[in-house]
Symmetry: C2
C-alpha cells in the first residue's frame, strides 16, 4: 500500500470534513438556506482577507479573478506596471496585453524579486500608471514579493496595487486594510483547502473608485454588478454551490485554528522543508524571501528535476510539481500550504531522501528529517 499524497503547490488536499460537507445533497442558490450559508461565508472571508471591504466570490479559477481585477478597474490604453519574476507574473502580462494596456515591465530573473525602490522609480517616471500588478507569492519560483513595501510606494500615487494572492491567502500574512493593498485576488484551492473552482476579488474604496471610470468590456466578471448581489446576500449568476458549502467548513477550520497560528504553521513547515533540503546538500531556488506556501529546490547537478517528480509519483504515490516553462527540468517544488501539517513535511523529506538515493545520489538517511525536527521542536 502506497497512500496517495498530494504535495504540489496547489490544488492542495481537502480535509475530509470539507469533502463530506460538499457531498451533502445540493441546495438551491436562491433560498433562505443559501442565504444563511452566504452570510456566514461573507463574514468569514472578510476576516480571512483582513479587510472591512466586501470579498466577491466568482465561479472561476484564480486566473479568472485576475482578469476580473483588470477589466473592472482599467480602460484600453491605460498604463500598468507589472512586477514580473515568474510564470504568474507572465500571466499578468498576458492579461494586460489581451486587453490593450500599456505595459511598464518590471522584471527580475526567476528566483529573485523586484525591489520596491524600482517600483517607486517607475511610478515617478511614469505618473500615468493606473495600476501595479504583482503576485504576493510567486508559485512558479517560490518567492514572496514585498507587497507591504509595494503598497507603501503605490499609496503615494493615484495608481492602485492589485495583488495576486492565490498562493498566499491564508498562508502568508497579508493584512489588506492595514497595508493598504487596493485589490486582492485569490482562489479556493490553496490556503483555503478547497477544490479549485472559486476565485475571489476584494476591492477597497480606492479600487472601487477605479471601477467607475473603467471602460474595458465585461459581463460575467462585472464586479460592480456582483457587489449589488453580495451586499444583499444574494447571487447574480448560479454560483459553484458545492464549493461555497465547502468554503463555510474551511473558514470554520481556519477560524478555529486562528489566523495568526495558520501563518505560524506555514512558516514552520516552510522553514523545516528548506532546512531539510539544505541538509541534503540541495540548493534552494528562491534567492529572495522564500514563500511559506512552497519550496522550490534545484536538483543535484546533472539530475533532471523531472526525474525527481516522476520518482515521487511512481515510487511513492506522491504528487509534487516540477518547473514550469523555462524552469522545466531545473527545479522541483514541494507544496506545504493549506491542509498541510508537520508530519506531511516529514513524509515529503523522507520520500526525497529515498528518491535521491534511487537516482544514485549519496544520501545521509535521516539528515533532512533531523533538520526539520529541530525546527518543529522549537518553542514558538
Amino acid at each position: 500500500m502506497k497512500k496517495y499524497q498530494l504535495m504540489a503547490p496547489g490544488p492542495t488536499p481537502v480535509p475530509s470534513e470539507v469533502l463530506l460537507a460538499m457531498a451533502q445533497p445540493i441546495i438551491h442558490h436562491r433560498t433562505p438556506q443559501y442565504e444563511a450559508l452566504f452570510v456566514e461565508v461573507r463574514a468569514g472571508l472578510k476576516k480571512l482577507f483582513q479587510t472591512s471591504a466586501e470579498v466577491v466570490p466568482l465561479a472561476c479559477s484564480g486566473t479568472g479573478a485576475m482578469e476580473a481585477a483588470v477589466v473592472n478597474t482599467l480602460s484600453a490604453g491605460d498604463a500598468v506596471a507589472v512586477v514580473r519574476a515568474g510564470k504568474f507574473g507572465d500571466r499578468w502580462l498576458e492579461i494586460a496585453r489581451a486587453y490593450g494596456l500599456d505595459i511598464i515591465d518590471l522584471t527580475a530573473p526567476f528566483g529573485h524579486t523586484v525591489d520596491a525602490a524600482r517600483l517607486a522609480d517607475a511610478l515617478k517616471t511614469h505618473p500615468e500608471v493606473k495600476a501595479v500588478l504583482t503576485q504576493h507569492s510567486e508559485t512558479s519560483t517560490g518567492v514572496l514579493h514585498d507587497v507591504r513595501a509595494y503598497a507603501a510606494v503605490t499609496r503615494q500615487h493615484d495608481a492602485i496595487l492589485i495583488v495576486d494572492a492565490v498562493s498566499s491567502l491564508g498562508i502568508a500574512d497579508l493584512p489588506m486594510d492595514a497595508w493598504g493593498v487596493d485589490l486582492v485576488v485569490a482562489g479556493s484551492q490553496k490556503g483555503l483547502m478547497l477544490p479549485p473552482g472559486i476565485g475571489f476579488c476584494a476591492l477597497n474604496e480606492k479600487a472601487w473608485r477605479k471601477t467607475k471610470t473603467s471602460t474595458l468590456p465585461k459581463y460575467y466578471f462585472n464586479l460592480t454588478d456582483e457587489l449589488k448581489f453580495v451586499a444583499k446576500n444574494e447571487v447574480r449568476f448560479t454560483p459553484a454551490v458545492s464549493i461555497i458549502v465547502g468554503l463555510r467548513e474551511a473558514l470554520r477550520l481556519l477560524e478555529a485554528e486562528g489566523l495568526a497560528n495558520v501563518f505560524k504553521r506555514h512558516d514552520r513547515l516552510a522553514r523545516a522543508t528548506r532546512a531539510g533540503a539544505e541538509a541534503l546538500g540541495l540548493e534552494l531556488f528562491a534567492k529572495h524571501t522564500p514563500s511559506p506556501a512552497l519550496t522550490a529546490i534545484r536538483p543535484p547537478t546533472g539530475v533532471d528535476s523531472e526525474k525527481i517528480v516522476a520518482a515521487y509519483s511512481q515510487s511513492h504515490n506522491i504528487t509534487i510539481a516540477g518547473g514550469q516553462g523555462e524552469m522545466k527540468g531545473k527545479l522541483f517544488r514541494l507544496g506545504h500550504m493549506g491542509y498541510a501539517a508537520e508530519f506531511d513535511t516529514i513524509v515529503a523529506l523522507s520520500a526525497l531522501e529515498q528518491v535521491l538515493a534511487d537516482l544514485g545520489q549519496p544520501v545521509d538517511f535521516g539528515s533532512s528529517v533531523r533538520a526539520a525536527q529541530k525546527i518543529f521542536v522549537e518553542k514558538s
Copy 2:
C-alpha cells in the same frame, strides 16, 4: 421527517454516486491520472453533444460560457440577431450590449417563441448579421425554441447559430452536427446532474472559422487557446477538478441509460407534470412547445405564485422556483431534469395538491397523480 427534495429548474439533485466520487481525495490536474480522467470525459462529452467537434470545458457557470461564445466569434460593432422570449434571452442581449454589438432584437412575449420564418426574414433584411443568439430551452418560461428550424435558416447565411443549451443538454434532443448548430453552450448543473461550476462550449468548423477574425478582447475565456490544451488532454488553467471527476460519473450514468432513453424519460416526466397540473385546473405558461426540462404553471386566479413556492418549501421541504423579473408572482416552475424520475413527479404533484388545498383552493385529491400515472403506464 420531511425529506429534502430539490425540484427547481437547476441546479438539479446530484446522484449519490456522483457526490461520493467528488468526495474522493482531490487529484492534481497535471498528472497522468487527470489525463486518463480527461480522455474519458472528452469522449463522453462529444457523444452527449452529438458532435465530432471538441467540447471545451471552462471553470465558470453557464453564463460565463455564453460570454465565451460571444467574445470568441465576434468583434465590436458586429450585428447579431437575438431570439428573446424570457430572462435568458435577455441575458444574450445584456452580453451583446456589454461588448458593443449591434442588436437585431427578435422578441416574443414570455411564454411564446419566435417563429423561424421571422428569423429567416431578419437574416434576409440584415445580411450583415454575424451570429444568431438563442436559447434551446428558455428556463424562465419553460418554452422550447425550434432550434432545428433556426439552424436550417441560419445555414443559408454566413452567420453562425449560437445556442444556449444550458437547460436542454442531455434533456431534449439537440444533435449538434445533424442539425448544423454551430456553437452549443451548456453547463454542469442541469441535465448533467452535477453541481454548478463548469460551463461548456462546442464549436463546429464554421464557428471556429469565426474565431480567427474575432477581435473582442478575451483571456480567461479564449477558446482558441483552450482548444490547444484540450487536444492534448491537458489543461490551460486550473480546472474545477472535483466537478470534472463528477462529470466522468455522470457521463457514465447517461451512457448506461442511453441518450435516446434519457430524452424519452424527460419527455414523459414533462408530459406527466403538464397533465397533472391541467387535471388540477391550472393553466400552463408555455403557449408553444413546452420544454421537457421544466414546467411553468400559472397559479389559480388571485393566488400569488410566490405563496405556492413558499408553501412547497415550508410545509414540504421541497425547493421549486417562482417567476423571475416581470414574471414574479405570476408563475411557478417545477423542474424535472437531470436526476429526476417518475416518482419524483408523483411527489411534486402530490405536494402541489396539498399546497393548493392549504391555500384554500378546491382540490380533487389524487387527480393530478391519476393523470400522471396514465402517462407513466403508456407503452413507450
